[in-house]
Symmetry: C2
Protein backbone atom coordinates (compact mmCIF):
# COMPACT_ATOMS: atom_id res chain seq x y z
CA UNK A 1 0.00 0.00 0.00
CA UNK A 2 1.25 3.43 -1.03
CA UNK A 3 -0.26 6.79 -0.16
CA UNK A 4 0.50 9.57 -2.63
CA UNK A 5 -0.13 13.19 -1.73
CA UNK A 6 -0.33 15.67 -4.60
CA UNK A 7 0.43 19.18 -3.45
CA UNK A 8 -1.80 22.10 -4.35
CA UNK A 9 0.91 24.52 -5.50
CA UNK A 10 1.25 25.93 -8.99
CA UNK A 11 3.22 23.89 -11.50
CA UNK A 12 2.30 20.35 -10.49
CA UNK A 13 1.48 18.30 -13.58
CA UNK A 14 -1.81 16.60 -12.68
CA UNK A 15 -1.95 14.82 -16.04
CA UNK A 16 1.46 13.24 -15.46
CA UNK A 17 0.61 12.28 -11.88
CA UNK A 18 -2.70 10.68 -12.87
CA UNK A 19 -1.13 8.82 -15.79
CA UNK A 20 1.56 7.49 -13.49
CA UNK A 21 -0.93 6.51 -10.78
CA UNK A 22 -3.04 4.72 -13.40
CA UNK A 23 0.01 2.74 -14.53
CA UNK A 24 0.72 1.69 -10.93
CA UNK A 25 -2.93 0.72 -10.38
CA UNK A 26 -2.85 -1.40 -13.56
CA UNK A 27 0.24 -3.16 -12.20
CA UNK A 28 -1.81 -4.03 -9.12
CA UNK A 29 -0.30 -1.62 -6.59
CA UNK A 30 -2.86 -0.74 -3.88
CA UNK A 31 -2.86 3.02 -3.64
CA UNK A 32 -4.70 5.92 -2.05
CA UNK A 33 -4.38 9.45 -3.42
CA UNK A 34 -4.62 12.59 -1.32
CA UNK A 35 -4.49 16.06 -2.86
CA UNK A 36 -4.44 19.72 -1.97
CA UNK A 37 -5.63 22.81 -3.80
CA UNK A 38 -4.03 25.88 -2.22
CA UNK A 39 -3.05 27.68 -5.41
CA UNK A 40 -6.51 27.36 -7.00
CA UNK A 41 -8.11 28.37 -3.70
CA UNK A 42 -6.06 31.55 -3.68
CA UNK A 43 -7.13 32.26 -7.27
CA UNK A 44 -10.83 31.68 -6.63
CA UNK A 45 -10.81 33.61 -3.37
CA UNK A 46 -9.21 36.57 -5.12
CA UNK A 47 -11.66 36.38 -8.04
CA UNK A 48 -14.56 36.40 -5.56
CA UNK A 49 -13.27 39.44 -3.72
CA UNK A 50 -12.39 37.49 -0.57
CA UNK A 51 -8.61 37.33 -1.01
CA UNK A 52 -6.58 34.77 0.93
CA UNK A 53 -5.25 35.82 4.28
CA UNK A 54 -2.47 34.09 6.13
CA UNK A 55 -1.95 34.37 9.84
CA UNK A 56 1.22 34.06 11.87
CA UNK A 57 1.21 31.99 15.05
CA UNK A 58 3.13 33.14 18.15
CA UNK A 59 5.64 30.33 17.40
CA UNK A 60 6.28 31.86 13.96
CA UNK A 61 4.30 29.53 11.68
CA UNK A 62 2.05 30.72 8.89
CA UNK A 63 -1.33 29.20 8.07
CA UNK A 64 -4.41 30.03 6.03
CA UNK A 65 -7.05 32.12 7.77
CA UNK A 66 -10.20 30.03 7.34
CA UNK A 67 -13.31 32.00 8.14
CA UNK A 68 -16.64 30.53 7.08
CA UNK A 69 -16.58 32.14 3.63
CA UNK A 70 -13.01 30.90 3.06
CA UNK A 71 -14.11 27.41 4.12
CA UNK A 72 -16.80 27.46 1.42
CA UNK A 73 -14.34 28.64 -1.23
CA UNK A 74 -11.89 25.99 0.01
CA UNK A 75 -14.56 23.27 -0.39
CA UNK A 76 -15.47 24.46 -3.87
CA UNK A 77 -11.87 24.15 -5.01
CA UNK A 78 -10.67 21.10 -3.07
CA UNK A 79 -13.85 18.95 -3.25
CA UNK A 80 -15.18 20.33 -6.53
CA UNK A 81 -12.68 21.64 -9.04
CA UNK A 82 -9.56 19.70 -8.03
CA UNK A 83 -11.08 16.48 -6.68
CA UNK A 84 -13.39 15.93 -9.64
CA UNK A 85 -10.62 17.03 -12.02
CA UNK A 86 -8.34 14.32 -10.63
CA UNK A 87 -11.14 11.73 -10.65
CA UNK A 88 -12.00 12.60 -14.25
CA UNK A 89 -8.36 12.24 -15.36
CA UNK A 90 -8.19 8.82 -13.69
CA UNK A 91 -11.53 7.68 -15.15
CA UNK A 92 -10.18 8.57 -18.59
CA UNK A 93 -7.22 6.28 -17.83
CA UNK A 94 -9.62 3.47 -16.96
CA UNK A 95 -9.16 3.76 -13.19
CA UNK A 96 -12.29 3.45 -11.06
CA UNK A 97 -11.50 6.52 -8.97
CA UNK A 98 -13.79 7.67 -6.16
CA UNK A 99 -13.37 11.20 -4.86
CA UNK A 100 -14.10 11.86 -1.19
CA UNK A 101 -13.30 14.49 1.38
CA UNK A 102 -12.23 13.74 4.91
CA UNK A 103 -15.60 15.14 6.03
CA UNK A 104 -17.37 12.24 4.31
CA UNK A 105 -18.01 9.36 6.66
CA UNK A 106 -16.26 11.10 8.38
CA UNK A 107 -12.99 9.56 7.22
CA UNK A 108 -10.86 12.21 8.93
CA UNK A 109 -11.83 13.48 12.34
CA UNK A 110 -10.16 15.76 14.84
CA UNK A 111 -10.59 18.74 17.12
CA UNK A 112 -11.37 22.15 15.71
CA UNK A 113 -9.14 24.81 17.22
CA UNK A 114 -11.79 26.73 19.12
CA UNK A 115 -9.49 29.71 19.47
CA UNK A 116 -6.30 30.43 17.56
CA UNK A 117 -3.70 32.92 18.65
CA UNK A 118 -2.26 35.06 15.89
CA UNK A 119 0.34 37.79 15.81
CA UNK A 120 -0.54 41.01 13.99
CA UNK A 121 1.70 44.09 14.05
CA UNK A 122 3.58 42.56 16.94
CA UNK A 123 0.43 42.06 19.02
CA UNK A 124 -1.19 38.73 19.80
CA UNK A 125 -4.94 38.39 19.37
CA UNK A 126 -7.34 35.48 19.48
CA UNK A 127 -9.62 34.40 16.61
CA UNK A 128 -12.80 32.49 17.43
CA UNK A 129 -14.34 32.17 13.97
CA UNK A 130 -11.64 30.07 12.35
CA UNK A 131 -12.34 26.61 10.92
CA UNK A 132 -9.05 24.78 11.20
CA UNK A 133 -7.99 21.70 13.05
CA UNK A 134 -5.90 18.58 12.89
CA UNK A 135 -6.69 14.97 11.97
CA UNK A 136 -6.53 12.68 15.00
CA UNK A 137 -8.71 9.78 13.84
CA UNK A 138 -8.69 8.09 10.43
CA UNK A 139 -11.68 5.84 9.82
CA UNK A 140 -10.38 3.40 7.22
CA UNK A 141 -13.67 1.48 6.78
CA UNK A 142 -14.78 3.30 3.62
CA UNK A 143 -11.25 3.26 2.18
CA UNK A 144 -10.91 -0.48 2.86
CA UNK A 145 -14.33 -1.20 1.30
CA UNK A 146 -13.44 0.75 -1.83
CA UNK A 147 -9.94 -0.73 -2.13
CA UNK A 148 -11.28 -4.28 -1.68
CA UNK A 149 -13.56 -3.76 -4.71
CA UNK A 150 -10.88 -2.29 -6.94
CA UNK A 151 -11.72 1.39 -6.51
CA UNK A 152 -9.08 4.07 -6.01
CA UNK A 153 -9.95 6.53 -3.23
CA UNK A 154 -9.02 10.15 -3.96
CA UNK A 155 -9.10 12.04 -0.68
CA UNK A 156 -8.95 15.73 0.13
CA UNK A 157 -9.51 18.13 3.03
CA UNK A 158 -11.68 19.28 4.77
CA UNK A 159 -11.94 16.91 7.73
CA UNK A 160 -14.77 16.79 10.28
CA UNK A 161 -14.46 18.27 13.74
CA UNK A 162 -15.77 16.26 16.69
CA UNK A 163 -18.88 18.46 16.43
CA UNK A 164 -19.36 17.57 12.77
CA UNK A 165 -18.13 20.88 11.36
CA UNK A 166 -15.98 20.96 8.26
CA UNK A 167 -12.43 22.00 9.20
CA UNK A 168 -9.41 22.92 7.13
CA UNK A 169 -6.57 20.53 7.94
CA UNK A 170 -3.07 20.24 6.55
CA UNK A 171 -3.15 17.79 3.66
CA UNK A 172 0.40 16.48 4.11
CA UNK A 173 -0.16 15.58 7.74
CA UNK A 174 -3.61 14.16 6.92
CA UNK A 175 -1.98 12.02 4.22
CA UNK A 176 0.59 10.85 6.77
CA UNK A 177 -2.14 9.91 9.26
CA UNK A 178 -3.96 8.05 6.48
CA UNK A 179 -0.82 6.16 5.50
CA UNK A 180 -0.29 5.12 9.13
CA UNK A 181 -3.91 4.00 9.53
CA UNK A 182 -3.74 1.96 6.31
CA UNK A 183 -0.38 0.45 7.33
CA UNK A 184 1.11 1.72 4.08
CA UNK A 185 4.76 1.03 3.55
CA UNK A 186 5.49 4.27 1.72
CA UNK A 187 4.20 7.84 1.58
CA UNK A 188 5.04 9.99 -1.45
CA UNK A 189 4.63 13.76 -1.07
CA UNK A 190 4.71 15.48 -4.46
CA UNK A 191 5.22 19.24 -4.67
CA UNK A 192 6.52 21.78 -7.17
CA UNK A 193 10.15 21.40 -6.11
CA UNK A 194 12.45 18.35 -6.37
CA UNK A 195 12.33 17.68 -2.62
CA UNK A 196 13.80 19.37 0.44
CA UNK A 197 16.26 22.05 -0.64
CA UNK A 198 19.17 23.01 1.60
CA UNK A 199 19.18 26.44 -0.03
CA UNK A 200 15.67 27.21 -1.29
CA UNK A 201 14.93 27.87 -4.19
CA UNK A 202 18.25 26.50 -5.53
CA UNK A 203 17.20 23.12 -6.88
CA UNK A 204 20.78 21.87 -7.03
CA UNK A 205 20.81 22.03 -3.23
CA UNK A 206 18.46 19.03 -2.97
CA UNK A 207 18.89 16.90 0.14
CA UNK A 208 18.81 13.38 -1.32
CA UNK A 209 18.36 11.45 1.92
CA UNK A 210 17.53 12.03 5.54
CA UNK A 211 17.91 9.28 8.10
CA UNK A 212 14.85 9.22 10.35
CA UNK A 213 16.97 9.89 13.42
CA UNK A 214 18.33 13.05 11.83
CA UNK A 215 14.93 14.47 10.84
CA UNK A 216 14.91 17.00 13.70
CA UNK A 217 18.11 18.56 12.36
CA UNK A 218 16.40 19.39 9.09
CA UNK A 219 13.32 21.06 10.57
CA UNK A 220 15.23 24.34 10.63
CA UNK A 221 15.91 24.14 6.87
CA UNK A 222 12.25 23.86 6.05
CA UNK A 223 10.06 26.94 5.82
CA UNK A 224 6.31 27.19 5.28
CA UNK A 225 4.74 24.22 3.61
CA UNK A 226 7.96 22.19 3.62
CA UNK A 227 7.91 22.20 7.38
CA UNK A 228 4.45 20.60 7.33
CA UNK A 229 5.78 17.93 4.99
CA UNK A 230 8.63 17.13 7.39
CA UNK A 231 6.17 17.04 10.29
CA UNK A 232 4.01 14.67 8.23
CA UNK A 233 7.07 12.57 7.40
CA UNK A 234 7.99 12.30 11.07
CA UNK A 235 4.44 11.32 12.02
CA UNK A 236 4.35 8.73 9.24
CA UNK A 237 7.67 7.15 10.26
CA UNK A 238 6.75 7.23 13.96
CA UNK A 239 3.53 5.49 12.96
CA UNK A 240 5.30 2.59 11.31
CA UNK A 241 6.00 3.54 7.68
CA UNK A 242 9.26 2.39 6.19
CA UNK A 243 9.80 5.35 3.95
CA UNK A 244 8.62 8.82 3.00
CA UNK A 245 9.74 10.42 -0.26
CA UNK A 246 9.38 14.10 -1.08
CA UNK A 247 9.25 14.06 -4.86
CA UNK A 248 8.91 16.38 -7.83
CA UNK A 249 5.30 16.69 -9.03
CA UNK A 250 6.37 18.51 -12.20
CA UNK A 251 8.31 15.54 -13.56
CA UNK A 252 7.38 12.72 -15.93
CA UNK A 253 6.33 9.55 -14.05
CA UNK A 254 6.56 11.48 -10.77
CA UNK A 255 5.32 8.72 -8.47
CA UNK A 256 7.49 5.94 -9.87
CA UNK A 257 10.51 8.23 -9.91
CA UNK A 258 9.92 9.09 -6.27
CA UNK A 259 9.47 5.43 -5.36
CA UNK A 260 12.76 4.74 -7.18
CA UNK A 261 14.48 7.23 -4.92
CA UNK A 262 14.36 10.54 -6.83
CA UNK A 263 13.76 13.43 -4.43
CA UNK A 264 14.36 13.47 -0.70
CA UNK A 265 14.09 10.00 0.78
CA UNK A 266 13.41 9.90 4.50
CA UNK A 267 13.83 6.47 6.06
Amino acid sequence: MIVVKIGGSEGIDLDAVCEDVAALVREGTPLVLVHGGSHETNRLATALGHPPQFVLSPSGHTSRRTDRRTLEIFEMVYCGLVNKGVVERLQQQGVRAVGLSGLDGPIWQGPRKAAIRVVEDGKTRVLHDDYTGVVEIVNTEILDLLLSRGYLPVLTPPAASFDGEAINVDGDRAAAATAVALRAHALVLLSNVPGLLRDFPDETSLVPRIARDALEDYMGLAGGRMRKKLLGAREALDGGLQRVVMGDGRAHEPVRRALAGAGTVID
Copy 2:
Protein backbone atom coordinates in the same frame (compact mmCIF):
# COMPACT_ATOMS: atom_id res chain seq x y z
CA MET B 1 -35.60 2.24 0.38
CA ILE B 2 -36.43 5.86 -0.40
CA VAL B 3 -34.57 8.19 -2.75
CA VAL B 4 -34.94 11.88 -1.94
CA LYS B 5 -33.93 14.52 -4.46
CA ILE B 6 -33.36 18.04 -3.13
CA GLY B 7 -33.77 20.63 -5.86
CA GLY B 8 -31.21 23.35 -6.42
CA SER B 9 -33.59 26.30 -6.66
CA GLU B 10 -33.68 29.24 -4.30
CA GLY B 11 -35.79 28.90 -1.17
CA ILE B 12 -35.29 25.24 -0.32
CA ASP B 13 -34.61 24.86 3.39
CA LEU B 14 -31.56 22.57 3.53
CA ASP B 15 -31.53 22.65 7.34
CA ALA B 16 -35.11 21.37 7.49
CA VAL B 17 -34.48 18.71 4.84
CA CYS B 18 -31.35 17.42 6.58
CA GLU B 19 -33.03 17.40 10.00
CA ASP B 20 -35.92 15.43 8.53
CA VAL B 21 -33.63 12.99 6.71
CA ALA B 22 -31.66 12.47 9.93
CA ALA B 23 -34.89 11.63 11.78
CA LEU B 24 -35.80 9.06 9.11
CA VAL B 25 -32.30 7.54 9.21
CA ARG B 26 -32.53 7.24 13.01
CA GLU B 27 -35.84 5.40 12.58
CA GLY B 28 -33.97 2.94 10.36
CA THR B 29 -35.29 3.99 6.93
CA PRO B 30 -32.73 3.15 4.23
CA LEU B 31 -32.31 6.30 2.21
CA VAL B 32 -30.19 7.86 -0.56
CA LEU B 33 -30.08 11.61 -1.04
CA VAL B 34 -29.56 13.31 -4.40
CA HIS B 35 -29.23 17.06 -4.72
CA GLY B 36 -28.91 19.83 -7.27
CA GLY B 37 -27.34 23.26 -7.14
CA SER B 38 -28.61 25.34 -10.05
CA HIS B 39 -29.30 28.57 -8.16
CA GLU B 40 -25.88 28.65 -6.50
CA THR B 41 -24.25 27.75 -9.82
CA ASN B 42 -25.92 30.75 -11.44
CA ARG B 43 -24.69 32.97 -8.61
CA LEU B 44 -21.09 31.75 -8.78
CA ALA B 45 -20.99 31.84 -12.58
CA THR B 46 -22.20 35.45 -12.50
CA ALA B 47 -19.71 36.41 -9.78
CA LEU B 48 -16.89 34.91 -11.87
CA GLY B 49 -17.89 36.80 -15.01
CA HIS B 50 -19.06 33.69 -16.85
CA PRO B 51 -22.83 34.17 -16.49
CA PRO B 52 -25.18 31.25 -17.02
CA GLN B 53 -26.48 30.69 -20.49
CA PHE B 54 -29.49 28.61 -21.35
CA VAL B 55 -30.09 27.11 -24.75
CA LEU B 56 -33.34 26.22 -26.46
CA SER B 57 -33.64 22.90 -28.25
CA PRO B 58 -35.53 22.61 -31.56
CA SER B 59 -38.30 20.83 -29.61
CA GLY B 60 -38.65 23.88 -27.37
CA HIS B 61 -36.89 22.74 -24.20
CA THR B 62 -34.44 24.87 -22.26
CA SER B 63 -31.23 23.56 -20.71
CA ARG B 64 -28.02 24.93 -19.24
CA ARG B 65 -25.22 25.58 -21.69
CA THR B 66 -22.31 23.63 -20.22
CA ASP B 67 -19.02 24.60 -21.80
CA ARG B 68 -15.85 23.46 -20.05
CA ARG B 69 -15.63 26.53 -17.83
CA THR B 70 -19.28 26.13 -16.83
CA LEU B 71 -18.63 22.47 -16.03
CA GLU B 72 -15.86 23.51 -13.62
CA ILE B 73 -18.10 26.09 -11.95
CA PHE B 74 -20.87 23.48 -11.82
CA GLU B 75 -18.52 20.99 -10.08
CA MET B 76 -17.36 23.62 -7.59
CA VAL B 77 -20.95 24.30 -6.54
CA TYR B 78 -22.55 20.85 -6.80
CA CYS B 79 -19.62 18.72 -5.52
CA GLY B 80 -18.05 21.35 -3.28
CA LEU B 81 -20.31 23.99 -1.77
CA VAL B 82 -23.65 22.16 -1.81
CA ASN B 83 -22.56 18.54 -1.39
CA LYS B 84 -20.24 19.23 1.52
CA GLY B 85 -22.78 21.64 3.01
CA VAL B 86 -25.39 18.87 3.02
CA VAL B 87 -22.90 16.32 4.37
CA GLU B 88 -21.85 18.72 7.13
CA ARG B 89 -25.46 19.34 8.17
CA LEU B 90 -26.08 15.58 8.35
CA GLN B 91 -22.85 14.93 10.28
CA GLN B 92 -23.99 17.51 12.82
CA GLN B 93 -27.21 15.50 13.17
CA GLY B 94 -25.16 12.36 13.85
CA VAL B 95 -25.70 10.84 10.40
CA ARG B 96 -22.69 9.19 8.76
CA ALA B 97 -23.19 10.93 5.43
CA VAL B 98 -20.85 10.32 2.49
CA GLY B 99 -20.93 12.80 -0.39
CA LEU B 100 -20.22 11.53 -3.89
CA SER B 101 -20.79 12.66 -7.44
CA GLY B 102 -22.05 10.42 -10.19
CA LEU B 103 -18.57 10.72 -11.75
CA ASP B 104 -17.09 8.84 -8.79
CA GLY B 105 -16.83 5.13 -9.45
CA PRO B 106 -18.44 6.00 -11.85
CA ILE B 107 -21.82 5.61 -10.16
CA TRP B 108 -23.71 7.32 -13.02
CA GLN B 109 -22.70 6.66 -16.59
CA GLY B 110 -24.17 7.62 -19.92
CA PRO B 111 -23.47 9.06 -23.34
CA ARG B 112 -22.27 12.63 -23.72
CA LYS B 113 -24.23 14.44 -26.39
CA ALA B 114 -21.43 14.90 -28.89
CA ALA B 115 -23.40 17.57 -30.72
CA ILE B 116 -26.42 19.47 -29.48
CA ARG B 117 -28.78 21.41 -31.72
CA VAL B 118 -29.88 24.76 -30.37
CA VAL B 119 -32.15 27.46 -31.68
CA GLU B 120 -30.87 31.04 -31.63
CA ASP B 121 -32.75 33.93 -33.22
CA GLY B 122 -34.89 31.42 -35.07
CA LYS B 123 -31.86 29.65 -36.55
CA THR B 124 -30.66 26.19 -35.60
CA ARG B 125 -26.96 25.66 -34.96
CA VAL B 126 -24.90 22.81 -33.57
CA LEU B 127 -22.66 23.01 -30.48
CA HIS B 128 -19.75 20.60 -30.18
CA ASP B 129 -18.15 21.83 -26.95
CA ASP B 130 -21.03 21.09 -24.61
CA TYR B 131 -20.66 18.70 -21.65
CA THR B 132 -24.15 17.34 -21.12
CA GLY B 133 -25.62 13.89 -21.30
CA VAL B 134 -28.04 11.51 -19.70
CA VAL B 135 -27.63 8.71 -17.12
CA GLU B 136 -28.12 5.28 -18.66
CA ILE B 137 -26.25 3.08 -16.20
CA VAL B 138 -26.35 3.26 -12.40
CA ASN B 139 -23.62 1.27 -10.69
CA THR B 140 -25.10 0.55 -7.27
CA GLU B 141 -22.06 -1.28 -5.86
CA ILE B 142 -20.65 1.69 -3.94
CA LEU B 143 -24.12 2.76 -2.76
CA ASP B 144 -24.90 -0.78 -1.57
CA LEU B 145 -21.54 -1.04 0.24
CA LEU B 146 -22.11 2.26 2.02
CA LEU B 147 -25.74 1.51 2.90
CA SER B 148 -24.83 -1.94 4.25
CA ARG B 149 -22.44 -0.30 6.73
CA GLY B 150 -24.86 2.37 7.88
CA TYR B 151 -23.61 5.27 5.75
CA LEU B 152 -25.95 7.65 3.95
CA PRO B 153 -24.89 8.35 0.35
CA VAL B 154 -25.38 11.96 -0.78
CA LEU B 155 -25.17 12.01 -4.57
CA THR B 156 -24.93 14.84 -7.06
CA PRO B 157 -24.21 15.45 -10.74
CA PRO B 158 -21.97 15.36 -12.76
CA ALA B 159 -22.07 11.86 -14.21
CA ALA B 160 -19.34 10.20 -16.29
CA SER B 161 -19.57 9.85 -20.06
CA PHE B 162 -18.59 6.53 -21.60
CA ASP B 163 -15.25 8.22 -22.35
CA GLY B 164 -14.76 9.16 -18.70
CA GLU B 165 -15.58 12.85 -19.12
CA ALA B 166 -17.62 14.67 -16.49
CA ILE B 167 -21.04 15.51 -17.92
CA ASN B 168 -23.89 17.66 -16.63
CA VAL B 169 -26.99 15.51 -16.27
CA ASP B 170 -30.46 16.32 -15.04
CA GLY B 171 -30.57 15.60 -11.32
CA ASP B 172 -34.25 14.63 -11.17
CA ARG B 173 -33.91 12.03 -13.90
CA ALA B 174 -30.63 10.79 -12.40
CA ALA B 175 -32.39 10.42 -9.05
CA ALA B 176 -35.16 8.46 -10.80
CA ALA B 177 -32.61 6.14 -12.45
CA THR B 178 -30.93 5.66 -9.06
CA ALA B 179 -34.25 4.84 -7.38
CA VAL B 180 -34.98 2.26 -10.07
CA ALA B 181 -31.53 0.68 -9.77
CA LEU B 182 -31.83 0.48 -5.97
CA ARG B 183 -35.38 -0.94 -6.25
CA ALA B 184 -36.62 1.89 -4.05
CA HIS B 185 -40.33 1.97 -3.36
CA ALA B 186 -40.62 5.75 -3.34
CA LEU B 187 -38.94 8.77 -4.89
CA VAL B 188 -39.44 12.19 -3.31
CA LEU B 189 -38.63 15.24 -5.46
CA LEU B 190 -38.40 18.38 -3.33
CA SER B 191 -38.49 21.80 -4.96
CA ASN B 192 -39.41 25.37 -4.02
CA VAL B 193 -43.11 24.93 -4.89
CA PRO B 194 -45.70 22.66 -3.25
CA GLY B 195 -45.80 20.26 -6.22
CA LEU B 196 -47.15 20.41 -9.73
CA LEU B 197 -49.25 23.54 -10.15
CA ARG B 198 -52.09 23.62 -12.66
CA ASP B 199 -51.68 27.38 -12.89
CA PHE B 200 -48.06 28.26 -12.06
CA PRO B 201 -47.19 30.15 -9.78
CA ASP B 202 -50.60 29.99 -8.07
CA GLU B 203 -49.89 27.56 -5.21
CA THR B 204 -53.59 26.96 -4.60
CA SER B 205 -53.71 25.27 -8.02
CA LEU B 206 -51.71 22.27 -6.72
CA VAL B 207 -52.47 18.99 -8.45
CA PRO B 208 -52.75 16.61 -5.45
CA ARG B 209 -52.60 13.33 -7.35
CA ILE B 210 -51.80 11.99 -10.78
CA ALA B 211 -52.58 8.41 -11.71
CA ARG B 212 -49.61 6.94 -13.55
CA ASP B 213 -51.72 6.26 -16.62
CA ALA B 214 -52.67 9.93 -16.80
CA LEU B 215 -49.11 11.25 -16.50
CA GLU B 216 -48.87 12.07 -20.24
CA ASP B 217 -51.84 14.44 -19.92
CA TYR B 218 -49.95 16.54 -17.39
CA MET B 219 -46.76 16.94 -19.40
CA GLY B 220 -48.29 19.97 -21.09
CA LEU B 221 -48.86 21.69 -17.73
CA ALA B 222 -45.24 21.44 -16.75
CA GLY B 223 -42.74 23.98 -18.00
CA GLY B 224 -38.98 24.04 -17.54
CA ARG B 225 -37.68 22.08 -14.60
CA MET B 226 -41.11 20.68 -13.70
CA ARG B 227 -41.18 18.86 -17.01
CA LYS B 228 -37.91 17.11 -16.09
CA LYS B 229 -39.48 16.08 -12.81
CA LEU B 230 -42.44 14.53 -14.60
CA LEU B 231 -40.10 12.78 -17.02
CA GLY B 232 -38.17 11.46 -14.01
CA ALA B 233 -41.42 10.39 -12.36
CA ARG B 234 -42.47 8.49 -15.47
CA GLU B 235 -39.08 6.79 -15.72
CA ALA B 236 -39.20 5.86 -12.04
CA LEU B 237 -42.71 4.37 -12.26
CA ASP B 238 -41.88 2.56 -15.52
CA GLY B 239 -38.83 1.17 -13.71
CA GLY B 240 -40.90 -0.35 -10.92
CA LEU B 241 -41.36 2.29 -8.23
CA GLN B 242 -44.69 2.37 -6.46
CA ARG B 243 -44.85 6.09 -5.93
CA VAL B 244 -43.26 9.43 -6.76
CA VAL B 245 -44.09 12.52 -4.70
CA MET B 246 -43.30 16.07 -5.75
CA GLY B 247 -43.07 17.85 -2.41
CA ASP B 248 -42.36 21.26 -0.93
CA GLY B 249 -38.72 21.70 0.09
CA ARG B 250 -39.48 24.93 1.95
CA ALA B 251 -41.70 23.23 4.52
CA HIS B 252 -41.03 21.81 7.99
CA GLU B 253 -40.41 18.03 7.89
CA PRO B 254 -40.51 18.15 4.10
CA VAL B 255 -39.64 14.50 3.44
CA ARG B 256 -42.07 13.00 5.95
CA ARG B 257 -44.83 15.37 4.78
CA ALA B 258 -44.25 14.29 1.19
CA LEU B 259 -44.23 10.61 2.19
CA ALA B 260 -47.52 11.25 4.02
CA GLY B 261 -49.02 12.54 0.78
CA ALA B 262 -48.49 16.31 0.85
CA GLY B 263 -47.63 17.59 -2.61
CA THR B 264 -48.32 15.91 -5.92
CA VAL B 265 -48.49 12.14 -5.53
CA ILE B 266 -47.92 10.18 -8.72
CA ASP B 267 -48.77 6.49 -8.44
